[in-house]
């Protein structure tokens, strides 16, 4: 076996691949060949590093040098300067916001506060090579469980750890396992919910792409604990890379005897198959997911019966999501006590968040439960983009709410977020600044819910549509004062009477924005004004005659020909033609276009 002196890790997450990570890997390999270094330096494409904002990323081991925004043309320089001459390529290093280049990624604010459990291997190992997973204690937990523990002991350990479902519900995982274990009926199924549909959340995808074996190992452990010998992963067909890596991982695990007949030479059998989702948000709900796996429309059904009683094909089924499973091998290896020490009393461990929106460091982060929103947004996230003012952070996706300045010091855990009118959800965290209109944001989420409502129950199918129409009227300045009360009432009816979680939580974005930004709603209704200046129907672009020099730049840029005026004469915007795209504002060098 070749012993490499150095490793070049290239981020192979979706974001970095979209910006040429593949050709960077190729040209790094070529450069190494050129200098005859291919036996001394290994290039590995790993899972997501999390620091998506500055991708594509190349990390050099053992010295932890972290190169950001690397282009294929930069690879020659990295090889010649760094690898041969031993000098870091300064211009590619990450520059800290307070100035100065960061020479070792351990010192980056982005990583300092993070504890990586679910993401432990993402960005470290080659996800297509089982040996690398094994080298980092992979399948050790499965071995321990099979040789030293009874199913009840495994369940007790997971219960003791306090691990709660990371898909949004926050239901104790160990308890779920126990329900399935106690049901004597056979066969039983272990299902992994990888139908990640929250807009703006991509942690499950990153785990599957960066560390697929962790999920397979945990599913086998769950199979042993609950008495199931079949595992099913329900994954979105829109995730081709994750599917590819899972297929490779399953194949390798079978070859090594970690899946299939007689796992680890014991009499325990367990195998995993993939089932593809076809794009329906409601399928994240476990009963809907099960119907979808059976080839039906993915409509939810009333619980009870819970899947542990009657799930896939009417048999006992345990459903957990990707991130929940990814925690399990670590809990077995390091013990429930170790896990419990991280996080808060009722929400133990860590949570992965997809930090996005108007924040400087967009990316995937994992922090202990109980970290405050302020630490996440301002320390790890590096604050608000372009020096703007923080306005709100949306957590929990379409089921969650918008939190404000006053919630910034709330420690994040399942119960605290619920208490302030939002929820954990799957961990999407979208930061908004002063330019974002909260009514529009609520409308955006309603649009999503309306589209994704399965149509089975009336409150969700009809009610949300009416909610959306009301919001539409408000953003157009056509609503009356009593519409606001109507809006609120309808929200409560929908929340109280819908069948499944999708409908019950659909009004949350509206309720939470009404609660925290009431004045903004009132401004839209009473003054026909959008305080954030984002609702187009309430906006007028006008030219300030004193500033206009008649350069014609705006008229040439206007896509619809709404601006007229002779050279060196003051121009005018025809409000009937104007589509309010804002191109004229960008084109004007004299600040002569104003938004009213």
């Amino acid at each position: 076996m070749t012993r490499y002196k150095m490793h070049l890790l290239v981020c192979g997450g979706t974001g970095c691949r979209a910006s040429a990570a593949d050709s960077i890997t190729e040209s790094l390999k070529e450069s190494l060949q050129e200098h005859n270094l291919q036996d001394e330096v290994q290039v590995i494409m790993t899972g997501c590093f999390g620091f998506c904002e500055k991708g594509p990323i190349v990390k050099v081991l053992p010295d932890n040098t972290f190169y950001t925004e690397v282009k294929p043309d930069d690879t020659g320089e990295i090889v010649e300067e760094h690898l041969i001459k031993g000098r870091q390529v300064d211009r590619l290093l990450y520059e800290a916001p307070e100035g100065g280049k960061v020479k070792d990624s351990k010192h980056m604010d982005f990583y300092k506060k993070q504890i990586r459990i679910a993401l432990r291997n993402c960005g470290f190992i080659d996800p297509e090579n089982i040996d690398e997973y094994i080298a980092r204690d992979g399948y050790f937990a499965l071995g321990t469980v099979l040789s030293e523990m009874t199913p009840q002991q495994v369940i007790d350990q997971v219960k003791e750890s306090g691990l709660r479902g990371r898909g949004g519900g926050g239901f104790p995982a160990g308890l779920k396992w126990e329900f399935a274990y106690k049901n004597q009926e056979q066969p039983k199924y272990v299902v992994c919910n990888a139908d990640e549909g929250d807009p703006g959340a991509f942690m499950d995808r990153s785990i599957l792409e960066g560390d697929p074996h962790a999920v397979l190992e945990a599913m086998a452990i769950c199979g042993y604990a609950t008495g199931a010998d079949k595992g099913l992963i329900y994954i979105r067909a829109e995730y081709p890379l994750a599917i590819k890596r899972l297929k490779i991982a399953i194949e390798q695990a079978r070859e090594y005897g970690m899946l299939g007949e007689g796992v680890f030479g014991t009499d325990f059998n367990f195998d995993v198959q993939l089932r593809y989702g076809a794009g329906a948000f409601v399928c994240g709900e476990e009963t809907a997911l099960i119907h979808s796996m059976e080839g039906e429309r993915g409509e939810p059904t009333f619980k009870p019966p819970f899947p542990a009683e009657s799930g896939y094909l009417g048999k006992p089924t345990n459903v957990n999501n990707v991130e929940t499973y990814a925690n399990v091998p670590v809990i077995i290896n390091k013990g429930a006590g170790w896990f419990k020490k991280i996080g808060t009393e009722k929400s133990t461990g860590t949570k992965v968040f997809a930090l996005a929106g108007k924040v400087n460091n967009v990316g995937l982060i994992e922090v202990p439960m109980g970290t405050t929103l302020r630490e996440v947004i301002f320390e790890i996230g590096g604050g608000i983009k372009d020096g703007k003012k923080f306005k709100a952070v949306q957590t929990g996706g379409p089921s969650g709410g918008c939190l404000t300045e006053e919630h910034l010091d709330t420690p994040i855990d399942f119960d605290n977020l619920l208490a302030v009118g939002s929820m954990m959800g799957s961990g999407g965290m979208i930061v908004m600044d002063e330019d974002d209109c909260m009514v529009s944001v609520a409308k955006f989420f309603l649009e999503f819910t309306v589209e994704e409502s399965c149509g089975k129950c009336a409150p969700c199918r009809v009610g949300n549509k009416r909610l959306h129409e009301l919001l539409e009227r408000i953003t157009q300045g056509k609503a009356e004062k009593k519409d606001l009360q109507r809006l609120k009432n309808m929200c409560h009816v929908i929340a109280d009477t819908s069948l499944c979680g999708l409908g019950q939580t659909a009004p949350s974005p509206v309720l939470s924005t009404m609660e925290n930004f009431w004045n903004e709603y009132v401004a839209h209704v009473e003054d026909q004004r959008c305080p954030a200046g984002s609702c187009k129907d309430l906006m007028r672009y006008e030219i300030i005659p004193e500033n206009c020099v008649g350069c014609t730049a705006c008229a040439r840029k206007c896509p619809v020909g709404a601006i007229t005026g002779e050279r060196k004469q003051v121009h005018e915007i025809d409000q009937d033609i104007c589509i309010k795209c804002g191109a004229c504002v960008d084109a004007c060098k004299f600040d002569a276009v104003t938004i009213k």
Partner: protein
């Protein structure tokens, strides 16, 4: 005896049979069957749905119900260069809507439609997981990051001369 009324080529029928047989004509495999069928034909028009229903021994209404339930399935042919605009939350707050409006304007088609020459089709999708590059646009497999409305023209131009 075939129950199919609408004309469908014999070779297409053979292909559908092949796909169904690969799944043991199991009605529970309907979604996987439809996925492979769509991969082959590009879309799932009524006659193909009928053929699938017949092979799996299901009512046509059930197949139609599944096809219309999931956004992944389409009953109209997609353009040679399918354009998908990410309208996930991260892209939304960074201006995806303006980008979408510009595509609609330039192509003269609505979301879910295909241009007359069959070249482009326009769709929205929710989060491709590249939020660091928001707003994101996909044309086929190619990803464009940090797209602004005035960059739309350049993206379309790349494909204008291609067949």
């Amino acid at each position: 005896m075939s129950r199919i009324k609408v004309k469908i080529k014999e070779q297409d029928l053979t292909k559908i049979r092949e796909i169904c047989q690969a799944h043991n004509n199991e009605p529970g495999e309907l979604i996987n069957v439809l996925q492979q069928t769509q991969e082959h034909f590009g879309y799932l028009p009524a006659e193909i749905q009928e053929a699938v229903a017949q092979e799996l021994g299901l009512p046509v209404a059930k197949v139609y119900g599944v096809v219309t339930f999931y956004s992944f399935f389409t009953m109209i042919p997609q353009g040679r260069y399918p354009i998908s605009i990410c309208t996930g939350t991260a892209c939304y707050v960074r201006g995806a809507d303006n980008v979408l409006q510009e595509f609609k304007r330039q192509l003269g088609i609505a979301v879910g439609e295909t241009s007359e020459d069959g070249k482009f089709s326009l769709n929205c999708l929710r989060c491709v997981g590249a939020c660091g590059l928001a707003p994101v646009v996909l044309v086929g497999d190619k990803t464009y990051g940090r797209v602004a409305p005035d960059g739309v023209k350049d993206i379309l131009a790349e494909y204008q001369d291609k067949e």
